[in-house]
């Protein structure tokens, strides 16, 4: 064990930080931007930002060079991630492409697909969304019913997806469709790439409990998709998707965000007076704060351990199955503690002038609950840990 970075890594970190300091747009865009309800001009700014990050060589660090990556080790990737969060750099609008469909294509895509899609993921020329969940299949993803029939050189897609983040501005969707309705449910699914401008696609917004538009329903009415847009083999999409799901689990577990949340909570408590003293000096709240910090730190080292496994090329083991569960619940607990710290101020909506900490927390409190639910609720995560991690028998 050695928690020091090499001189080269330290230099790299300084270089990243300097670059961020000089290049982060000073107006508008900022980190912790949980709002997915973006207008056109924000969207354009975000694309420009991602392009600049890419040009600077800080995007997709672990991708092979031939696809626009930097072929660097995971340590540098984590350094960039950390600095991005720490400097509150704007979110990457193409994150879903970079973290999910990109790595999937690198593993499963053919050369033509890689050449066609990967560069535009990085340049934000094509923004991706994910077509997995359906109204009838939430936890039970494999029961999806969106149908794709092969007609000549095309898939003809009919059905509906739901909880589709970013579908209202995405250019492409990576999508699971049923191509063999007679096979067992995991065996008849294919993974295809759909141009969101195809005729027959209708996107309807789903407003979140926060009041923002983030999700969508996407309807397919005889949407035609070229056969070359199939990733992996026909009817083997479940295997392809599982790779992506694994990337998702890791993406959701980012711990720098969690550390930033804790620091923000601590600052809030220090600035909040209760009974004539700062809340940080209240023995009861101190216990809660310390407990949260301990869990945050534990999660930090838990992720560092997995980072090390990944550097060493080893399977991260049982613990990685718990990342999503632990990470999302911890974030929500941090927000809930902040809500308690604020007392009656927690009752104010984000956009009220009297809101504490610029209204950050009430929104964060709900948003983080959404993350606990999305991508498999805690119930599902526990099933996954038990069944895949501990090999307890399935009970379907």
């Amino acid at each position: 064990m050695d928690l020091n970075y090499t001189p080269e890594e330290e230099a790299f970190r300084r270089q990243v930080r300097n670059w961020l300091d000089e290049n982060i747009p000073t107006s508008g865009l900022r980190g912790f931007d949980r709002n997915a309800d973006r207008d056109k001009s924000t969207l354009e700014k975000m694309k420009i930002w991602q392009r600049r990050v890419h040009q600077a060589g800080y995007l997709a660090l672990s991708w092979p060079k031939e696809y626009g990556g930097q072929a660097m080790d995971p340590v540098r990737q984590s350094i960039v991630n950390e600095e991005m969060v720490r400097t509150r750099a704007p979110a990457l609008i193409g994150a879903m492409g970079i973290s999910m469909v990109g790595p999937t294509l690198i593993t499963w895509g053919n050369d033509e697909q890689k050449a066609r899609y990967l560069p535009k993921i990085l340049t934000a020329e094509e923004i991706w969304c994910q077509g997995y969940s359906e109204p009838g299949s939430g936890s039970d993803l494999a029961s999806l019913r969106t149908r794709a029939e092969i007609v000549g050189d095309e898939f003809v897609v009919n059905g509906q997806k739901v909880w589709t983040s970013n579908a209202h501005f995405a250019d492409m969707m990576f999508c699971l469709v049923r191509t063999d309705p007679d096979a067992p449910k995991h065996r008849g699914i294919s993974y295809i790439l759909i141009d969101m401008k195809s005729p027959g696609i209708t996107v309807k917004p789903l407003v979140q409990m926060t009041g923002d538009r983030g999700f969508n329903e996407v309807f397919f009415d005889n949407v035609r998709v070229p056969r070359r847009n199939l990733v992996g083999k026909l009817n083997e999409g479940w295997m392809v998707a599982n790779a992506t799901l694994f990337h998702e689990r890791n993406m959701l577990g980012s711990t720098t965000t969690t550390q930033m949340l804790f620091n923000r909570l601590k600052a809030l408590a220090a600035a909040t007076m209760r009974g004539g003293r700062p809340l940080t000096h209240d023995p009861v709240f101190r216990q809660r704060l310390a407990d949260l910090e301990i869990r945050v730190e534990a999660m930090k080292y838990h992720m560092l351990r997995q980072l090390t496994d990944s550097i060493r090329g080893r399977n991260p083991g049982l613990g990685a199955w718990a990342n999503k569960l632990v990470g999302t619940e911890l974030n929500h607990d941090l927000a809930a503690a902040a809500m308690e710290a604020m007392g009656d101020y927690a009752l104010l909506a984000r956009d009220d002038g009297h809101a504490m900490d610029r209204g950050f927390w009430p929104y964060e409190w709900m948003f983080t609950l959404g993350l606990v639910i999305g991508g498999g609720t805690s119930h599902i995560q526990k099933n996954i840990i038990a069944e895949r991690g501990l090999k307890l028998p399935k009970s379907r």
Partner: protein, 373 residues
């Protein structure tokens, strides 16, 4: 020894549930919530016809002369419906304050109007520093020839926007018990109301500024710090009752959903995780309901135990509500996180209930202090 509702109370509950199911179903609640005033004049009028605003108002002032337990039974149903509007704050808290501390003139003017549904009162207690102790107050009442002059700013005043009058807690000296309650008409000179945007869409909050507001002698309620404590107790019980009703509703919604929503080829209610979440809500909720009933009963019948009972009820009931709402949202999965589904109204209302009139840690400390730990 009888720990149960009377037949009349059972009837009140039944009729309230039916009335609200037909007059304030979720769709109606959403409409009212979306409307700036956050109340429906029509619904308020119908409630007045049923005599609800005057439930705990003495008969001589046009009320039904019932007690806090009756009110709690009714508020449980209002919480079940997540009914928007000033009812809880006016009919349970302001009405109690007037009935307990008002002289005949005040009662004749405001309490009678409140009971008739012609006026609503709002309680203005906490301020920018968010404390409930009189020593936390900057709002002061200075003695003047014509009465008291009130200065300062109150925060988080529920339904100040639509109130006819305020019950204002003001400091009258430096001592821990130097607090008095005043009745101030909303249209009094020097009163300014600035709406706040509330997270809970079924409630309205405002900041109320008192700029040299003159309160004549009869506007000062009798009772000082004792009355103030009692009013806080009434508030705690009212919010607790609302919480129990709300917790019951989120449970009912989740159970209903779990019976019809299918995953993996069977209703999700057949999965233990869902069952156990529902069972945990029941195990929290049922004893908490008994505790709230007890606190409401004690408020009238056992004055020496009333303050502690109210603190117990508030500490428990609003925590139970929040926990139940969180579990119920999770039991719904993705749909529970949408605006389209109704449950978020209860989820947010639970959060408001948790902090209004003192959060659980505050009340637990009170339980300890009043219990002589």
């Amino acid at each position: 020894m009888d720990f149960g509702l009377t037949e009349e109370q059972e009837q009140l509950r039944e009729s309230a549930r039916h009335f609200l199911a037909s007059e304030c179903p979720a769709q109606k609640m959403r409409e009212i919530a979306a409307d700036a005033p956050g109340l429906s004049p029509e619904l308020e009028r119908k409630m007045a016809q049923l005599g609800w605003p005057g439930l705990i108002v003495p008969e001589q002032f046009g009320g039904a002369g019932l007690g806090m337990l009756d009110m709690a039974v009714l508020l449980e149903e209002c919480g079940y419906a997540a009914m928007p509007g000033p009812f809880l704050f006016s009919a349970a808290i302001a009405a109690y304050a007037l009935a307990a501390g008002g002289g005949d003139e005040i009662k004749t003017r405001w309490l009678r109007a409140l009971a008739a549904g012609d006026a609503t009162g709002a309680v203005a207690i906490v301020e920018a520093n968010d404390g409930l102790a009189p020593s936390d107050f900057a709002v002061s009442a200075r003695t003047a020839p014509a009465g008291a002059v009130i200065n300062g700013v109150k925060m988080f005043v529920p339904y100040a926007q639509s109130a006819s009058f305020f019950i204002v807690a003001a400091r009258t000296g430096a001592g821990a018990r130097d607090v008095e309650l005043f009745v101030v008409p909303a249209n009094a000179a020097g009163v300014k109301i600035r709406p706040l945007k509330a997270l809970d869409l079924t409630r309205r909050l405002a900041l109320v500024e008192f700029d040299g507001v003159l309160a004549p002698p009869e506007a000062q309620l009798r009772g000082g710090a004792d009355l103030y404590e009692r009013v806080l107790g009434a508030g705690a019980i009212a919010i607790s009752a609302d919480s129990i009703g709300g917790a019951q509703r989120v449970l009912d919604m989740a159970v209903e959903y779990a019976k019809v929503r299918e995953q993996f080829g069977k209703p999700i209610g057949s999965f233990q995780a869902i069952k156990h979440a529902a069972a945990e809500i029941v195990a929290d909720l049922e004893p908490a309901r008994a505790l709230v009933w007890y606190a409401a009963y004690a408020f009238d019948a056992l004055p020496r135990e009333a303050a502690r009972a109210a603190a117990m009820a508030k500490a428990r009931a609003c925590e139970v509500y929040s926990r139940a709402a969180g579990k119920a949202v999770l039991m719904h999965g993705g749909i529970g996180f949408t605006w389209e589904h109704d449950i978020h109204f209860w989820f947010k209302r639970a959060r408001l209930n948790e902090s209004l009139f003192g959060a659980p840690p505050y009340h637990r400390e009170r339980v300890a202090a009043l219990g002589g730990y």
